[in-house]
């Protein structure tokens, strides 16, 4: 206590309070990931529905691994370049990426390894649940658009549950496009 007087202590405290108040804890969600994964998940869901209703041949399902690989490669490359170019990264941001990768990773594993339990439309619904969790997590940090998008994805899940089997996939796909990819577009527009 001998090294500093009350005026200096006040000055230091005020500086600390100012810095902490300016520590902007906004979540930068990265709109492009939402656009890519929203389109990819909707594409897969709608494709399954089209094959299920015999509208297109089953061989079209082989485009799924291609779409998934493209989305994964894009996400990894984009995340590396974004991270390298950033000048600061908040703790909230780190937590968000953990939630994002955990949720989507679990959905991916469920689809790839638990397909006998979550077969057909249930596998698509898993993606909708994962997407809703991610969107509502962002919404919890004050992003109103993410809240609305999360509610839209949940609404599409409920609507798909009560829709005739022949169109349930289209309803889920629409939720993914409007909710998830739509949120990504709105983030990109807000950023610009």
């Amino acid at each position: 206590m001998d090294h500093i007087g009350a005026p200096e202590a006040r000055d230091h405290i005020e500086m600390v309070e100012r810095i902490l108040a300016e520590s902007h804890q906004r979540l930068c969600a990265g709109g492009e990931y939402f656009v890519i994964w929203g389109i990819c998940s909707a594409f897969i869901t709608i494709l399954f529905q089209l094959v299920d209703t015999d509208s297109i041949p089953g061989v079209a399902l082989w485009s799924i691994p291609v779409a998934l690989t493209a989305a994964v490669v894009f996400s990894i490359l984009r995340s590396r370049s974004t991270r390298a170019a950033l000048e600061r990264s908040s703790l909230v941001q780190r937590e968000f990426f953990n939630v994002l990768w955990l949720t989507l990773g679990l959905a991916f594993i469920t689809n790839a390894a638990v397909y006998r339990i979550f077969a057909g439309i249930a596998s698509a619904a898993i993606w909708s649940v994962a997407e809703a969790i991610v969107l509502l997590y962002i919404g919890m940090h004050g992003n109103r658009r993410a809240q609305v998008a999360g509610v839209l994805v949940i609404a599409s899940l409920i609507a798909a549950n009560f829709a005739p089997p022949g169109i349930a996939g289209y309803v889920l796909g629409a939720g993914m496009l409007v909710g998830y990819a739509g949120f990504g577009v709105s983030e990109l527009l807000a950023r610009d």
Partner: protein, 92 residues
Amino acid sequence: MDELLLSKVRLGVVAELLNFDWIAFSELARSLDVSNGNLGAHLGKLVEAGYVDEEKSFVKRRPLTRYRLTRRGREAFTDHVSQLQSLLKTAT
């Protein structure tokens, strides 16, 4: 009180890093409005004391140095600020 954090620049650095995973050197210099040389010297002391971790890398062939607050630094900051507040309470 923590001798290291009696410096306003060093206290500012730790406060800046408190809510962040990491911050680049250039961003810290801009936020705190200090020269690169001055900031470098202060950061060197914080790194030496184990309050801050330094990570050097290259991005598009340009050097990038990032800093992250350690657990020790976080604890030292919390203790120091509560002592500053106690001092102010005593003075008033």
